[in-house]
Symmetry: C2
Subunit: 93 residues, 2 copies
C-alpha cells in the first residue's frame, strides 16, 4: 500500500518510499512558508521548482532549485519559502 | 489543493504539479508490471529505484535507474516492470 502524508492543511503532500536507496519521501510543496523539524538526518533534493531555505544556525535564506540539494542533521528545524509548486525528494538516515 | 491520483489498485500513486518547468506528475510505483498509455508526449525521469521499459516499437525491455530518463510520444503505450518502490517524475508536452 502506498502511503500519502499531508502537512500544513494539505499544502505539502508526500509519498513514502522504501527501496535500495533507503527510506525516502517524495513530495510536493505549494507556494507558502513552512518550518520543518527533523527526527532523522535528512538529505533534501529539489527536483523541480525552488526552495529558499534558512538552514539551522544560518541567518540568511539560500536558494535551491534544478536538482540542488541540502542536508539537515537530526533533531533540527529549518525554514522554507516556496514560490511555486516544488517537487522534492527526501532521504532519511 | 494538491491532487493525488491512483492507478492499478493503488500500486501507482502520483501527485500533480504545475510550475515554471511545466505540467508534471511525481509519483511512486510499487513492484509490479504495468502498461501505460500517453495522451501527451511524456518525459519520464527515474529519480530512485528502477524501471525496465519496453518502449513503443521495441521488442526488448531497457533498464532506467539512478536519474535515467526516456521519452514516449503522445498516443502511444509502453510496458513497465518495476522490482522495488520506484520514484519517477513525468513532464508532459
Amino acid at each position: 500500500m502506498i502511503k500519502v502524508n499531508e502537512y500544513f492543511s494539505g499544502n505539502v503532500k508526500s509519498i513514502a518510499v522504501q527501496n535500495s536507496d533507503g527510506e525516502q519521501t517524495v513530495g510536493v510543496m505549494k507556494a507558502g512558508e513552512y518550518k520543518f523539524s527533523t527526527s532523522k538526518k535528512e538529505f533534501m533534493f529539489v527536483a523541480s521548482g525552488q526552495m529558499d531555505v534558512k538552514l539551522p544556525g544560518e541567518s540568511e535564506f539560500k536558494s535551491f532549485s534544478n536538482h540542488g540539494s541540502f542536508v539537515v542533521e537530526a533533531n533540527q528545524s529549518f525554514d522554507v519559502i516556496v514560490k511555486e509548486d516544488t517537487i522534492y525528494i527526501c532521504r532519511y538516515e
